[in-house]
Amino acid sequence: MASVKLTNVKKIYDKNVVAVHDFNLEIHDKEFVVFVGPSGCGKSTTLRMIAGLEEISDGTIEIDGEVVNDLQPKDRNIAMVFQNYALYPHMTVYENIAFSLRLQKVPEDEIYDRVTRAAEILGITDYLMRKPRALSGGQRQRVAIGRAMVRDSKVFLMDEPLSNLDAKLRNQMRAEIILLRQKLDTTFVYVTHDQTEAMTLGDRIVIMKDGYIQQVGTPTEVFEMPKNLFVAGFIGAPQMNFIETELTVENGSYYVKPFGVKLPVDGEKGTALKAKQAKTGRITLGVRPEHITLTQAGANAIPCTLEVNEMMGSELHLHVYTEDGTRLVVRVPTVSLDAETRKGLVAGAKVHITFEGKVMHFFDPESTENLLN
């Protein structure tokens, strides 16, 4: 159990390719932090620098107040779960889990106790004498976690541990990681490219792109107040809709004009804009699919044509395009529509959509920053 502090950490590969720029973050004791971002954003590199598997080009990393830059991974007292599990194929499950303890010269009977306890927690007691080859993906994943668990390490690092599992198992293991976290009660750093995992697991999420931190915050913060276009588009599925439009002010009230339909920015967003004295002009307007509603033709209604209707079970994903050809996605709960209306939602159908001011996000099209930052 320990805090991890990264100060101005940089990773420059030879030929001057910069993988991580100036990374600053303090991870508190017992916190669960998730690094998330598209592939190549530097999240794994950062994790591997914490683990000591990559050299740190610049800056310092401290674990529990001690600078670990020049320490070998074995001396950092960390545990790590790898994407492809990295189980030792020539050892049984028991030996795999016991490996680190044996290197530490822990007495055999204590090893036995600790391995069997970990195995029990993970439900792999029956497989202890098997080789990894004979295990299924989920079981291997458990062994990998078990191997990290038996050591009393200060920090628990996980590098995309669920990405090799199929969707169903992934959901199950995700829940188990939450349970495990409660049991272990230690500091976690978790890397994933999957925003759902990040949202469900993390106390705080670090969103990265091209080696830069885009935003650090709790799941709620990053969802409700994305700092820029990238974060807005990355968090949430289906992706947030972006509309190029204009922000105007009339009588002290703000309006947006998507597709020539004038919509008032009311509610807290309007207040915030007023408080900020936001500049009018061209903006990128962001609206999440679930915040758009179907409506009847009217003053606030944007007319669209339905292109594809995806029935997801509990909800419908409607892919529509407006009169100027902009494509939008609308997410509608299935129960909110009667059967007659649902039947009418076929390709080519004319629909009308609208959304309220409080769900709007405003971004500067030049800097891509959120106007309300």
Binding site: K74, M80, F82, A86, H90, S100, L103
Partner: protein, 291 residues
């Protein structure tokens, strides 16, 4: 459609595959015979007693073990055999260590001179190795490792530059996922422990391949061995010693002896090879695929 036609077509398929398979079997038998003829001849002639020179027929007229008895009675042959065996054994041990050191370092470490070192070795490999013979002979002579002491001299020559033969085992190491190393290092292993506890157990086939090739090579080496033993029978290996028996002045009296010697040399090597064939195949294919 017409059922009969369909059936006939199927029959045709089966029949044609049967024909092609029998053609292949015949071909394979012919190939096998061609491949075996020299070995059969050499074995048969080693039992021939009526004439000790080369003859124009295969089946001996008079059979017996006399050639073998005479051969094993020759102290020089025994010496050559022991020499070669010692060289092969020591070479197998040392060369394997060197090659594995080299391959592990080149496969797992990214140090500054790595690229330069690999390029250097590639360029060195393009030089005809024979060129170095003259100077190596002189150097070994200064060290007193020629003629009667040729055995340690030869071992030194074989082992010293064996690091250049790292390709195959490096290629194999490269296929072992790096994350295993990393996991072990996080688990608290030093790089050395990673080598001994993770990589080597997983690299068993390639270790055996390396040992096997290193053991087999000295049995066939003629040029270096001849140069370094320099006509001194005490330092010769089997190839150098027995080569003499087929020279113009000796062939008429020692030809059958050569055959017997060949059989005695070949049998243990061949048996060992056939037992470990699986590993050899793995190494050879891996090496070719990696280039």
């Amino acid at each position: 459609m017409n059922e009969k036609k369909k059936i006939r077509r199927h029959m045709g398929l089966r029949a044609s595959s049967a024909i092609s398979n029998s053609v292949i079997h015949v071909l394979l038998v012919i190939i096998s015979i061609i491949w075996l003829i020299p070995f059969v001849c050499i074995v048969l002639q080693s039992f021939r007693l009526e004439l000790s020179g080369p003859v124009g027929y295969v089946i001996p007229k008079k059979w017996g073990f006399d050639n073998y008895v005479a051969l094993l009675g020759r102290s020089d042959f025994r010496q050559w055999y022991i020499n070669t065996f010692i060289i092969a054994l020591v070479n197998a041990a040392l060369q394997t260590v060197i090659v594995l050191c080299m391959s592990y370092a080149l496969s797992r470490f990214r140090f500054k001179m790595r690229g330069a070192l690999m390029r250097l070795m590639m360029v060195l490999g393009l030089f005809p190795g024979m060129l170095t013979m003259i100077i190596l002979y002189r150097v070994l002579k200064d060290l007193g490792l020629t003629e009667a002491n040729a055995v340690p001299g030869l071992i030194l020559v074989y082992v010293a530059s064996s690091g250049m033969g790292y390709y195959v085992s490096k290629g194999f190491f490269d296929t072992i996922p790096k994350s295993l190393d990393e996991a072990a290092r996080v688990d608290g292993a030093t790089r050395m422990q990673v080598l001994f506890k993770i990589i080597l157990p997983l690299a068993k086939p390639i270790v055996i391949y390396t040992i096997l090739t290193a053991f087999m090579a000295p049995w066939g080496d003629y040029v270096f061995a001849r140069y370094i033993s320099f006509e001194n029978p005490v330092g010769m290996n089997v190839a150098v010693g027995m080569y003499k028996w087929l020279t113009l002045d000796q062939i008429s009296s020692n030809y059958t002896m050569f055959c017997a010697g060949g059989v005695i040399v070949a049998i243990p090597v061949t048996i060992l090879f056939l037992c470990l064939q699986r590993y050899y195949v793995e190494g050879v294919t891996g090496g070719a695929v990696k280039g």
